[in-house]
């Protein structure tokens, strides 16, 4: 169950990270369009994305992003082994979870925050599986899905990023996540890199879409992603 246990042992605190989980709802697709095409080939982490979608039709996310991304892009399948440098989207009307292996797992459990897939479901199971080897990113959205999940990633010592609400077309979701942490100035990055000492991990990094993309590139250059 503890996906990180088998994979990461003698690594320094705060990375390298094995996965980036990204959640968003309305307004997030434009942000993904800034972030995902910038992810470089050779990324050491897998990228797993939950976007709230209409339940009753096929998702077009793979069609949209495959031609724009350097990384291989696919819709998540149950039991699929998670590969570094691959990008996975949650399918509509299924929750996406991280199981031991690490593998992708799907469920049709009840919607959470009226959403299936739910960001909390992915984030909480990823926090459980990857512990402090995880980056969690919460984007624009109109409800509070993802807030509890981001807090879980934070509590497990992961690296957390919240889209600057001022830059979000729907700020509810990032604001709900930030409400769980002491206030800080948007755009300002906490000076300390995250440690896995509980309670001492800095609050989420609050960044614009451009700055999130730049942060990914920077962490990759530092061999942390």
């Amino acid at each position: 169950m503890n996906a990180s246990a088998a994979h990461a042992s003698n690594t320094p605190d705060g990375g390298p990270y094995q996965a980036i989980v990204i959640g968003g709802s309305s307004g997030a697709i434009d942000v993904l369009n800034v972030l995902l095409p910038r992810l470089p080939v050779g990324l050491r982490a897998a990228v797993i994305v939950v976007l709230h979608l209409p339940r009753d039709r096929r998702s077009l996310l793979v069609d949209i992003f495959r031609p724009r991304c350097a990384l291989p892009v696919q819709e998540a399948e149950d039991q699929q082994p998670i590969q570094a440098g691959h990008l996975y989207f949650a399918p509509p009307d299924y929750h996406l979870l991280i199981d031991s292996g690490p593998r992708l797992a799907l469920s049709v459990d009840a919607p959470l925050h009226f959403s299936r897939p739910s960001i909390d479901v992915l984030f909480e199971s990823a926090a459980d599986g990857y512990g402090d080897k995880l980056v969690g990113v919460l984007l624009s959205g109109a409800n509070d899905d993802g807030a509890a999940g981001l807090a879980a990633i934070h509590a497990a010592g992961g690296y957390t990023i919240v889209q600057d609400p001022a830059s979000a077309s729907m700020p509810t979701m990032p604001e709900a996540a930030l409400a769980r942490f002491p206030r800080q100035t948007p755009g300002k990055t906490p000076s300390k890199t995250p440690s896995n000492t509980p309670g001492k991990t800095p609050a989420p990094h609050v960044l614009t879409p451009e700055a999130i993309a730049a942060r990914f590139v920077q962490l990759h250059a530092q061999r942390l992603l």
Partner: protein, 279 residues
């Protein structure tokens, strides 16, 4: 306590609880996908006012009623009638013409939960004129769900969605022909139930009980780890007649399974497979 230690203890507690359930009640959740199970167990903790899974284990072992309640958390799936209409449309257009060639037809809905899919299939087969010579075995491990399925009663506020799905599944009649509405609920026609047999059966611990032409098992295997998926698919293979059909959930596939070589893709986009000849 460090977060990692807490997480490790929670994993140990989960394994011990599942062992306890297996030894005391003979329900085997040990090879279920642990991430989903963990979410369900966490919500059960709140319900049963327990702080830890160890506390829950104590109650489960000593209070059978707590286990009965917990079983609802671990197993109940809520589906919709005609969920994924294109699946039912593919059954209607591609599988029914072959089923029609058999003098009598047996269908197995494995993991039928509260029966939405069983009634959907019965209605589809009725519309195609096959129900009179069909027997549908509907199995689940949850006795409460089976009883609910047998009642054929659903909340009225779900029926609008069912009706839309039914139409998109190529429905040749009105769904309302098959139920009567009262007190905020609908009750499906008893005539449908005469072609259904509901039975307690576990894909984890039981064996094959009949020979069938079509197995529909959708969104059940996603709750299993790979070994248990393979066991279930092995049962399906053994239960199917020569060139019988297997329908899975829209995001389930045989691709990662050891059983893949025993099945042909039949309608791949709707996850309908056909048993290979010769075994």
């Amino acid at each position: 306590m460090p977060h990692k230690t807490k997480a490790r203890i929670a994993d140990i507690e989960q394994r011990l609880l599942l062992d306890a359930i297996y030894h005391q009640y003979h329900y085997d959740f040990r090879a279920y996908a642990q991430a989903s199970l963990k979410r369900r167990l966490q919500s059960a903790l709140t319900q049963f006012s327990c702080k830890t899974l160890s506390q829950l284990q104590d109650r489960v072992l000593h209070e059978p009623a707590v286990f009965t309640g917990l079983l609802q958390y671990l197993t109940v799936q809520v589906s919709d009638m005609f969920r994924d209409p294109s699946y039912f449309l593919a059954l209607r257009n591609e599988v029914v013409p072959i089923l029609r060639t058999y003098p009598s037809i047996k269908v197995w809905v494995a993991g039928c939960s509260t029966g939405e899919e069983v009634y959907s299939l019965a209605i589809l087969l009725h519309e195609e004129g096959l129900l009179d010579r069909t027997l549908i075995y509907a199995t689940d491990i949850n006795p409460h769900a089976l009883r609910a399925a047998e009642q054929g009663v659903f909340d009225l506020d779900r029926v609008a969605a069912f009706t839309e799905n039914h139409a998109r599944a190529g429905g040749r009649s009105s769904l309302s022909d098959y139920y009567t509405a009262r007190y905020g609920r609908v009750v499906f026609d008893k005539a449908l139930r005469e072609h259904m047999v509901f039975s307690d059966h576990s894909l984890a611990t039981d064996s094959v009980f009949a020979e069938v032409h079509l197995i529909s098992c959708r969104n059940v295997l996603i709750y299993f780890e790979r070994d248990l998926q393979n066991r279930a698919l092995g049962l399906f293979h053994d239960a199917l007649v020569h060139r019988g059909f297997l329908g899975l959930g829209s995001k389930e596939s045989l691709r990662f399974s050891a059983q893949a070589e025993h099945f042909d893709d039949f309608v791949l986009e709707d996850r309908i497979y056909r048993k290979k000849a010769g075994r």
